[in-house]
């Protein structure tokens, strides 16, 4: 699969989505998603506006991946997170000693982490860290 170079238009274009967590909310059906777009993927409405995605949420579903693609050290925990304030986010759990600590409903928060390296350049994005209860 072809990877875009870090200096490619795709990375520049997605700066607000990644670093400001800018998403989209449909004024007609209420669907919240990312990246931003002109047409709601849920209902087809053109009546959409920018929506700031929350940093925190709860794990909706997850899996513990023992056979990740090269460059990732197993096990990794893939999650789909229900964000506080609406919308879902897909990503990886970081800084978890025991993958079994992750379960449906676990509280998580986004933290900026290096997600990959391409030709010597670091690419940053969000991963999820478990929130300490208390």
């Amino acid at each position: 699969m072809v990877q875009p170079a870090p200096a490619s238009p795709l990375f520049w274009r997605f700066n607000p989505e990644i670093y400001q967590r800018m998403g989209m909310k449909c004024s007609d059906c209420g669907h919240i998603t990312y990246p931003r777009r002109k047409i709601c993927p849920e209902c087809g409405s053109f009546n959409v506006k920018e929506h700031q995605l929350s940093k925190t949420g709860k794990v909706h579903t997850f899996c513990i991946n023992w056979t990740p693609p090269p460059n990732l050290e197993p096990p990794i925990v893939n999650v789909i997170v229900d964000l506080d304030g609406g919308g879902r986010y897909q990503g990886l759990i970081t800084e978890v000693a025991n993958p079994e600590d992750v379960t449906i409903g676990t509280k998580v928060e986004m933290v900026l982490r290096k997600v990959m390296t391409d030709r010597g350049l670091n690419i940053y994005g969000y991963k999820f860290r478990l929130v300490e209860e208390g």
Partner: protein, 398 residues
Amino acid sequence: MRGKVAIIGVGMIPFGELFEMGLEEMVQQAYINCLNSVDKGISTKDIKAAWFGQWSGGGMIGQGALCGASLATMIGNREIPITRTENGCPTGSDAFRNACLGVASGVYDVVLAMGAEKMRDKPGVESLIAAGGGGGGILGLHPSWMLGMGGPVLQALYATRQMHELGYTMEDYARVAVKNHHNGVACPYAHYRFEVTMERVLNSPIVCWPLHLLDCCPQTDGAACAIVCRADIAKSFTDKPVYVLGSNTGLDHKNMWDKHSFVEMLSTVRAARGAFEMAGIKPDDVDFAEIHDCFTNTELMNLEDIGFCKKGEAANLLREGYWNRDGAKPINPSGGLKAHGHPIAATGIGQICENYWQLREEVEPERQVKLKNGIALSHNVGGDAFGVSCVTILSRSL
């Protein structure tokens, strides 16, 4: 379907790790088998158009993109229009659907649908990455959203939620593998022809919790094709045509985070609903089915999404033997993707070959299913985030 369409011949090659065969040879052998299967004979000149299901587009075999001219060259026929079709894991079924539309529209009398895929020329890991297990898995998205994704991850995210919402267990998933491997043993076209026990599935390595290695279908090479024609001329080719009652494609979001649910796939729900409507039948009217068990949990979800049972009932019915080859509604008598294999573009047409043979009662006696209404269904789901599904309904009578 408004314009009536019939299948008059099908051809497949045994699926497997076919290191000795290239894509061209697989296609040619399936094509020759298909022509030879037409009871009263057919001339290659009778075929007026073709659709070539091909998913990887050369990415798997180190060639450039494949196109209509690729199939024209392989079958030695440059006189007819040929379109390459790609639509995720349902690629073969969608090539078949387009072939049926070519006939139903009244433009062509006889057409060919071919599906072929070479998955194993690349070594294991490279093959899996090329199949969508990529590190960045980009497709126009930022890598931080797609990091570490891949086929097993996508399904495991559903499998976890099925366990949470429906009470399914890893034993329920393993039971699907046991059933489909058992069916595959009797099928001469299947990639894996060995039995597995619950213990063996549950003791196989975890690929992506909650899925074990033996919950996953293999990477397989294969080719399959079918010739369809106007129903009113079918009897000039065979006394036992099989009719296409319905063929539909259904879609859903291509991003996982947009899905309304992780225990149901709307792509399948939509594909099935449209196909049943086209056919004018209900799920209960179907005698048996070949459905997309790329992972064991997927089979349970599909059975519910197609409408063969209510949400959450599939695992119990499996335990009772309802889906067994000798059960009330046999599912995947060929062994399914799990044992028969999953050469992506060949998979859907391979299912159609199997259903054609079963409806004509031509398979080995021990794996022939009992027919009541003479109606069979086949189903695929795949593409980005399982956003594409195809359902095809075949019948012995119009």
